[in-house]
């Protein structure tokens, strides 16, 4: 019956169990005393209210602000990676294309005017520019 008494605090008993328990409680002072003890334990546990130190809120908020700063800098790094890497890749492709086409790495070849001289300048400006 003690097990049923303990269970009665945490689960719904069947009508038969409830009836049996109520009868047992009426007839057994020992069981009644046990019920009082279990009630006291529950009350003690319910009323046990430890608290954090007074600085708890400030400490949490300090760490939250740190989190926000960290998140913001992470966002910047991600944004930089998203922009910088494709740009770098594109520049590399242009550079490679230019080297393969002209066969050298001079500034003229890079900007695509390696064959430019003063005689064909008007032609370049009129048709190629």
């Amino acid at each position: 019956m003690k097990n049923i008494l303990k269970a009665s605090f945490d689960t719904e008993l069947t009508p038969d169990q409830t009836l049996g328990l109520n009868n047992a409680l009426k007839n057994s002072p020992e069981l009644e005393a046990e019920k009082i003890k279990l009630n006291k334990i529950r009350l003690l546990m319910k009323n046990y209210s430890p608290v954090f130190s007074n600085e708890f809120l400030d400490q949490v908020m300090y760490k939250i602000r740190e989190e926000r700063r960290l998140k913001a800098s992470r966002t910047l790094v991600i944004a930089f990676q998203r922009i910088a890497f494709p740009l770098l890749a594109a520049a590399s492709v242009v550079l490679l294309f230019s080297i393969l086409k002209s066969g050298d790495l001079s500034m003229e070849s890079l900007i695509g005017i390696s064959s430019l001289n003063s005689e064909n300048l008007p032609h370049f400006l009129l048709f190629n520019y």
Binding site: K6, K37, L44, M45, K46, P50, F52, S53, M61, I64
Partner: protein
């Protein structure tokens, strides 16, 4: 000055997501007592409990955008608090082979952490704390959720991801142990 105390949790969460620190501070104020009860009951008073308590709210902050409101904020925080406390206990286990050693440390830290909680008899608190720390973590967690936080057996089972039968049997064994230790104050 804006009054945050009258705002619903989900509105505070929206504000916190959009960068309002005061809104998040209000959430911490609302739930720090409940989290203290869980974490300090699980770990005993002291610096570790404070650190884990802070971690609970930091984890919550990181997960704000994923919080869909399927459970209440309190249940969500409770779940984090229980998991982090159990992790901390596992970590301690590696350092303290005998559980009593951990309890001794908890006792030493007791005075410092409880200075602010006046009005509840110190010896009773010490006895309750010792009783809790003497339980194995798996028993302690059901006591904390069911008896201290007032969750139903079903909710306790859900939070701990256990069958209801297991929760009931753990509650029964834990009560026996508590009764034995708390005998001086419940007779």
């Amino acid at each position: 000055m804006f009054d945050y105390s009258s705002i619903e949790d989900f509105q505070l969460i929206d504000k916190a997501i959009s960068g309002d620190d005061n809104a998040f501070a209000e959430l911490v104020k609302r739930y720090q007592q409940a989290i203290a009860k869980i974490v300090i009951s699980m770990l005993g008073p002291g610096e570790d409990a404070q650190d884990v308590g802070q971690q609970v709210f930091i984890r919550f902050f990181r997960a704000l955008e994923d919080f869909r409101g399927e459970s209440t904020v309190l249940t969500y925080l409770t779940r984090i608090a229980i998991n982090l406390s159990l992790n901390e206990l596992n970590r301690r286990k590696r350092f303290f082979t005998l559980f009593s050693k951990a309890t001794e440390i908890a006792k030493e830290n007791y005075t410092m952490a409880d200075e602010t909680n006046i009005g509840y008899d110190f010896e009773i608190k010490e006895l309750i704390n010792n009783a809790l720390q003497s339980l194995q973590p798996k028993y302690r967690s059901v006591i904390v959720l069911r008896m201290m936080e007032g969750y139903t057996t079903k909710e306790t089972a859900k939070i701990l991801n256990l069958p209801i039968g297991t929760v009931l049997s753990r509650l029964s064994r834990a009560q026996d142990k508590l009764k034995e230790i708390l005998e001086p104050i419940i007779k």
